[in-house]
Symmetry: C2
Subunit: 407 residues, 2 copies
Amino acid sequence: MTRLAEILSQGDEIVTGAVVDTNAAWLARLLEEAGLRVRRHMAVGDDPEAIAAALRGASERAGHVVCTGGLGPTDDDHTALGVSLAFDLPLEERAEALQQVEARYAAFGRALDPSGRRQARLPRGAVLLENRFGTAPGFRLDRSGCTLWFLPGVPREMEGMAREHLEPALVSLGLVRDRIHVVRCVGIGESLVQERLRDLALPPGIRIGWRAMIPEVQVRLRGRPEVPPEVLSAVVDRVTLALGDHVFGVDSGPLEEVIGLRLRDLGQTVATAESCTAGRLAAALTRVPGASAWFLEGAVVYANAAKARSCGVDLEVLAAHGAVSEPVARAMAEGIRARAGSTWGLSTTGIAGPTGGTPEKPVGTVYIAVAGPSGTTQRRLRLTGAREPIMDRTVGAVLDLLRGVLG
Amino acid sequence: MTRLAEILSQGDEIVTGAVVDTNAAWLARLLEEAGLRVRRHMAVGDDPEAIAAALRGASERAGHVVCTGGLGPTDDDHTALGVSLAFDLPLEERAEALQQVEARYAAFGRALDPSGRRQARLPRGAVLLENRFGTAPGFRLDRSGCTLWFLPGVPREMEGMAREHLEPALVSLGLVRDRIHVVRCVGIGESLVQERLRDLALPPGIRIGWRAMIPEVQVRLRGRPEVPPEVLSAVVDRVTLALGDHVFGVDSGPLEEVIGLRLRDLGQTVATAESCTAGRLAAALTRVPGASAWFLEGAVVYANAAKARSCGVDLEVLAAHGAVSEPVARAMAEGIRARAGSTWGLSTTGIAGPTGGTPEKPVGTVYIAVAGPSGTTQRRLRLTGAREPIMDRTVGAVLDLLRGVLG
């Protein structure tokens, strides 16, 4: 069977741009890392004929087709019908599928209604794929020369089912996989990363890709099977060297996880005092399972009274320098550290916008600080962009500042 | 010329999943809002033949095709060549394009090298589109019955050029746009929404769509231009009636914005005490610009000591009932309200997982509470799924609880 693969995303919300299709990229990485070659992504709307046409085309070009979306209970879920039209297969209610759907509804304390029941109708010959993450079962269809997978559109359900059903099947193909290394950096923009790597001469069979995910930039290096591992490793080393201190991990988890593991190993703890990030810093740290072992508490101190009460910031300091200032950032970090009795205290105070800027302190002016056993470190940030990106970049900057002092 | 449109994204980084294609959704919204009907998105790699095949297919199906990516200076930028192959048009260096590229390089303090010079080569007959946001010019190609636009893949450059060149051309088409109304609900599942609207008889020209975005479900009603506004409005009213209290807005902002505006109008304030959501509740409320007018402070109280210190939760209550309990949820909400001097106090405490569950209190057991002038209301939630979705659903549930008591 050919190594070529295609991905089909289905739903009006995707073709009309109401939502960004993140499933296609997630699946493409899974397929490529299994040794397949993804040649095309397609997205079509809630139109059985369009789905059928896309499926026919993909199944003629590729040996592996993964389709997401349109399996749900609502009237605009048309994927099964599209498959039926594409390959002339009648839709049949499956007893096993019906049992699974009923069980899911029961788990949610609901009786199975007619619309929910539609989810148990599969094209004849399709192999049922249990969905333990939602109500809509998926299915697999084996055509001559092409295997088609049908998964839900909700990313969490799609990813869970892909891990349970698709990935093992891909592994069983026994294809030689590309080797992939990911150099993860923070505190540097995508264009500057590219500029620093502009003169990087890549040996044949090695490809480089960039991925900016605020506040992080990932450099992905991918070596074809014929490339010796040490050759790929040498390129990884050169990239890491070129990006210097900005690199927080190679093939590692996200920044908060790297920091969390370090704190756990050191037996140290952290507490946060947030003004402009308003909980996003605590939320980022607690994304790491087991964070309760090293994250003690956080204070979201919007009002000045709260800054004084929760972080012991002197009201005279607030009056003299303003809430968005270096002394207040320092006082917040030191105050929450003393209050929580943590090893480290982190703080953010700034103007995320869209309003609140002044000539001296325009929108994007942010002060961050890290208080620790041997004193307090702070930074002034001058950020641009909308409210949310400014908040997200601030979280990245203070995590990066902690990473630096943790060493 | 047909109103059908297609979008083609080009680049190995997209088909291999190294980057998520956000351009397609951005362009789809631009095209749909101009009255076009986007029928298909495609993405292909850095392969001139694949680009050519995709362009031929799209130009046969649609009257408007927008292509992004592959215009740059590097060896894997093949869009112009793909166009040449697709429509049998020789590539020619354009003096005007060359001047623009040279000027951009000069602005970056770089001399124009041969690879940079490739960007000045356009298919014969193409209309040059200046790129003031980067080095690679774009171009437009008018075929019989189809206009094709070629824009850079870097989102900032693509968006800038689309605003300057594509959007005015779309406006000049003078297409009548669909009317769209969005009924936004919370506290009800997608399939239950569908069931409640089962007997809704839609007049011709009106389409209904569902979109689940934890913790919200949106019902989108889209009326073709020929549908009288009052007919569409009548359908919106029937949908709103059928969904009752679950509807928090029609064509409104998200739940936190609706709550924020209500608090502002009432001159009331809120404070939050979070355990299992760990800052996500404060982060959601502060997504609303101007939140500082009604959001006073938040406490992220992971450790029991923090629950006692920051929310005045009695340590004996914690010992007697456990941190994940109704009395602790109530005490947290009442404690943060008293502490902050806010009108309302919100709290969350639960087990988000993946670990920490017990037979009596499995992962997904969450207590939420809202303390206010006339007492405290609380709920027990039994949620399923992964750590992050449990946290997100909890945020939605406590915001919905506040919406209820606000009336």
